[in-house]
């Protein structure tokens, strides 16, 4: 594609919006870096669940080797202390072992999957709820708007972390519960975005035109208007995933996360704290990983936001 493609496309079938988005995004190097990390993280998480689950996993994240405690990254395993079936792949503890001699690499891989699912499911729930409420509020206005937006205000008043801690304390920890609670307490931002978009979309001629074609309310909202409001939703979803991962790590760190023996990044971090000076990798590895993943999601999200901003896009396309 060259620069005069906009001229050519006058008569040609259109380049898809996706392709145009990519053309603009790729100029934003931080955004692209974020996207690459995002994709790498996806692959690693899926790979992680493949090698660490099942009855005889390739890498068992919960196998305890008491004679191999607190070994540093890249240290060789001791063939005399460990049975053959539990030796680390390549014969090396790539990321070291923890205070119980568990392979940190295996635990990190298992935790990646937890972070991924928490991020995606929680954001999926919050986006669904947020889009639904935001759409209704923005489209119908009046009392629907008033009721929904006051509900949003009320939800925003509740300190989320404390609410989650309370619920988990009452009903006990669990991965699924965390996803649902995080999802159900983080839809307010999306609602506001979507409502704002709908308020301006509602005035647009094409909405009146669609109405003049006899579209029903729901069809108007979800078929005609929603696709026009998706750009900010996509952006807030990307950043929302980062927030959810961070939140889950925080909960796990406090011991309210996924019950043992399942490993999550927050838990690895929490248990590493006690060996900060003897085995700093126990804190650095999960800490840096969380940092990099959250940062890359945020960069990707911001890159997307800049790309989907029509003003910047005009310049780019």
């Amino acid at each position: 594609m060259t620069d005069d493609s906009s001229l050519e496309s006058a008569g040609k079938p259109a380049a898809s919006p996706l392709w145009e988005t990519w053309r603009t995004l790729r100029r934003n190097y931080l955004g692209v870096a974020g996207m690459v990390f995002f994709l790498v993280f996806l692959v690693v998480a899926v790979f992680g669940v493949a090698v660490t689950s099942g009855r005889h996993p390739i890498m068992d994240p919960s196998h305890i080797r008491l004679k191999e405690r607190l070994k540093g990254p890249l240290s060789h395993y001791n063939p005399k202390a460990v049975e053959d079936e539990h030796k680390p792949p390549l014969g090396v503890y790539l990321l070291g072992t923890d205070q119980l001699g568990r392979d940190i690499l295996a635990r990190m891989l298992q935790g990646a999957w937890v972070s991924l699912t928490v991020g995606f499911v929680a954001v999926g729930i919050s986006i669904t709820v947020g889009v639904f409420f935001g759409g209704l509020a923005g489209y119908f206005g009046h009392w629907a708007d008033a009721v929904i937006m006051r509900l949003v205000d009320i939800m925003l008043c509740i300190p989320r972390f404390i609410l989650i801690l309370t619920i988990l304390a009452l009903w006990g920890p669990g991965l699924f519960k965390i996803m649902v609670i995080v999802g159900l307490t983080s839809w307010m931002g999306t609602t506001r975005f979507v409502r704002a978009e709908f308020l301006s979309l509602r005035q647009q001629d094409f909405v009146t035109a669609a109405k003049a074609l006899g579209s029903s309310h729901l069809r108007l909202i979800f078929r005609h208007m929603l696709p026009n409001a998706l750009a900010p939703v996509l952006v807030s979803a990307t950043i929302g995933i980062a927030t959810a991962i961070l939140l889950e790590a925080g909960l796990s760190f406090l011991g309210f996360g996924v019950p043992p023996p399942h490993a999550t990044w927050g838990k690895i971090l929490a248990s590493g704290r006690e060996y900060l000076f003897d085995a700093p990798w126990l804190t650095y590895i999960p800490g840096v990983t969380i940092l990099v993943v959250v940062l890359s999601f945020n960069l990707f999200g911001e890159g997307l936001r800049d790309t989907l901003n029509p003003k910047l896009r005009q310049r780019g396309a």
Partner: protein, 332 residues
Amino acid sequence: MASADDGTLLDVRDIRVTFHVADGPPVRAVEGVSFTIEKGETLAVVGESGCGKSVTGLTIMRLIPSPPGVIESGEVLFQGRDLLACPEREMRSIRGGEIAMIFQEPMTSLNPVFTIGFQIAEALHAHRDVSKAEDRKRVVELLRRVQIPSPEEGFSSYPHQLSGGMRQRAMIAMALACNSKLLIADEPTTALDVTTQAQIFELLTELRQEMGGSILLITHDLAVVAETADRVVVMYAGRVVEQSPVNELFDAPLHPYTRGLLESIPSRNAGKTKLPVIPGSVPDAAHKPANCHFHPRCPYARQKCSQQDPELRQILPGRFARCWALGDWLET
């Protein structure tokens, strides 16, 4: 006025629409507008910006944004059925099904995120069951009928990739998709350049003849009216001031406002004299002059005009006007 005989498709009777603004007096956008549209006819509604012509069009479709807009009274009889009284469900099947509407801004009346083909297919689906496989064929056929060059490519184009004229053609194709009996065209060519305008009107006229539907053309462009309309309704400040067949209107305008409008069209051989204008400007919709709204600007105004409200009266056969001066002229 006209009875609902067989030839009448749409009978608008005395509609009144008011917009209630948060601070300030209510704006009476339309005050008792009546007209009829016969089958196969093109009726033009002419007037300056803000005279209530677009609101009239939206009222027929019941698309007035409410609040602030309220349709206070009146009837819109479409084939004998009052559209202002029928339930929303029924109204939805009429919108796009029996009455279609195209809008002023082809730039913004198409959904920017969908292809033209998708949107026309939507219009097809909204009112009849069409199999997906047939879709493409029918949409391409429609695009061909509205003379979009290379309809196959037009099908998969996004609105921003088309010119204004092409977009308006696509809008017309959407309106055609439903085979409606009445097409309300709200300033369909205002945003287009003159040559494109001509093409669009040619297309509309052709299609009307082909399908035997009626058109309600809302415009401020008298040249367009002269070219396309059969009858003309002139509106001023929310009221109908004159209603005449198109030729009579241009030959001998009745109402002083219509006369002023026609006089202020620049013509080629009148280049040396100063172009006559109607003195003053359109009244603020919230503060209209009492009684005849035109009297402060009217060269024929007399005392009666500011004291009593004139009615829309038949002055000559088939010609109606709302003016005291004309009535006096008629009596003498």
